[in-house]
């Protein structure tokens, strides 16, 4: 399981929902974001970027806006932003 | 505001005079490491710097001492270190960093006899070629050679001024004898001392090119915190300071580094001439050796030998044009230096067919005037 530890700021982030942004051309396909997203929001896409890597894409799951992928990505290629509070 | 320049007449040694020169020049940072016979520079300036709001730190080795003065220089202050042969060797890699990053700083080498530990308490002038070529790669460097405690004071100020003008390390190539010799040193009033500080950039911060040269071939230099967000690297870099691994960038960068010295030789090269007008034999000397060379000239003249002295105050860049033009009309050159012929070779390179002799010594003693006279007599025979 990927819940290898509970984020310190769990309380806050469970109420927010995020939108993941991916800058595909920067990705070097290390897979860190995919492997360690606590929600398993991401997967490798089938497409190649110009460097020849498969950038991640978003699955059906909801992003928690925990920013963990953003911190872990070595390439400044992925980040999350709070989604507009449409449903609440 | 109270001046911190010790205006007046003093009886101090060359090392101490050097420290006072640094204070008068506006030096605010000294990174040091003890070594005979340069230690007194550090000792004196460690007392003086805090009095003027400056900082002295004794680092863990000469590499650290040299590196620390570059870091300090980028905060906008004038910085300096002092050492002798073994420490000078350790500093060489960082000298290259100073050259390529165009970081102004002053390095004093109170030379002693080598190789290796050599004769720590006895003078020599055998690091002259190391001063020119000691760091790897091609570059130009400025080196001054003081002949007296007074010049240790004066030329330390000149060294700072040149380093600030040309954004380059400047060496003061002293020696144990001048460093430890006590003589009268006159320190002028502060307002009569000419000091130069590097120009700082003005204008748009986002478009600033930290290595785009101004009219004299030198770029204005921002300090950390000025908001220019400069990147400074030892890698080959473009005018923005960004590393570019290309032959063209290397060429451009080298042209700038060499050009800012080579195109300003008239401003950088300082020499003193004594009885050269009608000389048949020209003694070329510098530092402590110029003192005995001077005596040799006086004695030669009494004996009817037309000898003159060309004293190199700036040794690097070398006054090659001066040698070339003298070579056309004199019968020979004698280079007087406490080494086995380092500057002598340089004289030879520009003397053409004019014979060049060495009055040298492997280190530990001065060159007696008699040696110079003997060579002169043989040369003219």
């Amino acid at each position: 399981m990927k819940y290898w530890r509970v984020p310190l700021d769990t309380g806050e982030i469970q109420v927010t929902r995020g939108r993941v942004h991916i800058i595909e051309e920067r990705c070097k396909g290390c897979g860190y974001c995919i492997e360690y997203c606590p929600r398993e929001v991401l997967q490798f896409s089938r497409k190649f970027n110009k460097k020849g890597y498969h950038p991640p894409e978003v699955k059906e799951e909801e992003c928690l806006n925990c920013h963990y992928c953003e911190l872990l990505c070595p390439e400044f290629a992925i980040f999350s932003i709070a989604a507009e509070k449409a449903e609440s | 505001m109270k001046s911190h320049v010790l205006t007046g007449e003093h009886f101090i040694n060359g090392d101490e005079a050097c420290a006072e020169g640094a204070i008068a020049a506006g030096c605010k940072f000294f990174g040091g490491y003890p070594i005979t016979p340069a230690t007194e520079v550090a000792e004196q300036i460690s007392i003086r710097l805090p009095q003027v709001g400056g900082t002295f730190i004794q680092m863990e080795d000469e590499i650290a001492a040299m590196t620390s003065i570059l870091g300090a220089a980028w905060t906008g202050v004038k910085s300096m270190t002092a050492t002798s042969g073994p420490g000078f060797s350790l500093m060489m890699e960082t000298v290259g960093l100073a050259v390529v990053t165009e970081t102004p700083c002053v390095v004093v080498n109170v030379q002693r006899a080598g190789p290796s530990t050599g004769l720590p308490t006895q003078g020599a002038q055998a690091d002259m070629m190391q001063a020119r070529w000691g760091s790897h790669g091609d570059y130009e460097i400025i080196a001054l050679a003081p002949s007296s405690p007074q010049e240790m004071f004066d030329l330390t100020i000149t060294a700072f001024n040149l380093s600030e003008t040309y954004r380059t390390p400047v060496f003061i190539m002293s020696d144990e004898i001048v460093g430890h010799m006590s003589e009268k040193v006159i320190i002028p009033e502060a307002r009569k001392i000419k000091t130069v500080s590097r120009p700082r950039p003005t204008g748009r911060k986002d478009r600033f090119l930290p290595y785009k040269p101004g009219p004299n071939g030198v770029a204005p230099m921002p300090a950390i915190g000025d908001g220019y967000n400069v990147h400074v690297t030892g890698l080959t870099h473009d005018e923005k300071g960004y590393p570019v691994m290309s032959v063209e960038t290397q060429k451009e960068m080298m042209a700038r580094l060499l050009g800012k010295i080579r195109n300003n030789l008239d401003d950088i090269i300082l020499t003193e001439e004594h009885r050269l007008e009608d000389a048949d034999i020209v003694v070329v000397s510098y530092g402590v050796s110029a003192r005995t060379a001077y005596t040799a000239v006086e004695e030669a003249r009494q004996m009817g030998i037309k000898m003159g002295l060309l004293r190199l105050i700036t040794v690097w860049p070398f006054p090659e044009e001066k040698i070339r033009s003298l070579a056309k009309r004199v019968k020979g050159f004698i280079t007087v230096e406490i080494n086995m012929g380092q500057i002598c070779r340089e004289v030879q390179r520009f003397a053409g067919l004019t014979p060049t002799y060495l009055a040298g010594h492997p280190g530990g003693a001065i060159i007696p005037p008699e040696d110079v006279l003997k060579i002169a007599k043989e040369a003219l025979a």
Binding site: E35, P74 | I57, T94, V232
Partner: protein
């Protein structure tokens, strides 16, 4: 919207990165970029104006860090980032000076400077990216390479014992010592933030994979290394530095081990040496 394709929104760290130099040189799967991102995030979150910071690096893969941060930054010679940072700090004590470099640079060729800066409690932050090898030159044995691990110069295994870096920093007098892995990105970011906020010599070791030149020779892909960082580490704040050998079979201890107050080098110097009334001509040099 699901399956989002590439975004036009800028990455939140773009004001701190020299975007005209991206992509950086770090290999796919290299952890250095992750450590760097945590470091930049901490700088950003500190709220301190960027012109109050300077970054200094030495030579090596992580030594390229200074080349990518959009503040005054210095890429110096091999091993000498700390004395360069020392010069900056002592001349301008108000600046936050961060050294970002690798284990070979900081602890082997630059080891002498590391221990002396710690001894003096030089007020700088040292982020030591420890990839257990010399990555840039192709994976030679380092002072941190585990006993028996393979490298291009120890093809039959490393015969030497590696440094326990937190112990070294602690013994030399560092007043803040922590170790994380790049996977512990939040803890690492917090550690860098703590170090920025405090005064004194802060040493943060960050374990980080070099899949290309260490992993390859030791049968470890970057995700395998990350799995070890996840499964074979124990967070134990306050652990004694002598327990901190990097041995993934035993479990590698992470956490904050030292966090004490001691007057810094610049503070003590100015108090002892500068006349009570500071001379006018000082400062405003910077």
């Amino acid at each position: 919207m699901k399956n989002s394709s590439t975004t036009a929104t800028p990455h939140p760290l773009e004001d701190l990165v020299r975007m005209d130099r991206i992509p950086h040189i770090w290999c796919s799967g290299c952890g250095t970029g992750s450590v760097f991102t945590s470091c930049l995030t901490a700088i950003k979150q500190s709220g301190i104006p960027y012109n109050q910071f300077a970054m200094v690096s030495g030579i090596g893969c992580s030594g390229r860090g200074a080349g990518y941060i959009n503040i005054d930054s210095f890429h110096t010679t091999h091993g000498r980032a700390i004395p360069f940072a020392t010069g900056i700090k002592m001349a301008r004590p108000d600046l936050k000076v961060i050294v970002f470099s690798g284990d070979g640079d900081l602890c082997a060729i630059g080891g002498n400077h590391l221990i002396h800066a710690a001894r003096r409690n030089m007020d700088i932050i040292v982020i030591c990216v420890n990839n257990l090898t010399y990555g840039m030159t192709g994976g030679q044995v380092a002072a941190t390479t585990p006993f028996k691990a393979k490298s291009s110069t120890t093809t039959l295994g490393n015969p030497d014992t590696p440094f326990n870096l937190p112990l070294l920093a602690y013994a030399a007098g560092a007043t803040y010592v922590a170790r994380w892995t790049m996977l512990h990105a939040r803890d690492l970011t917090d550690a860098v933030q703590t170090a920025i906020a405090r005064k004194g010599f802060s040493f943060i070791e960050v374990l980080s994979p070099c899949p290309v030149n260490f992993g390859r020779r030791n049968r470890e892909k970057s995700l395998d290394t990350l799995r070890k960082y996840h499964e074979n580490t124990i967070v134990k704040n306050g652990a004694h530095p002598s327990e901190l050998d990097v041995d993934f079979n035993k479990g590698v201890i992470l956490g904050t081990f030292v966090n004490v107050d001691r007057p810094t080098c610049d503070e003590v110097y100015r108090k002892m040496y500068w006349p009570a009334e500071e001379p006018k001509e000082q400062r405003k040099t910077g």
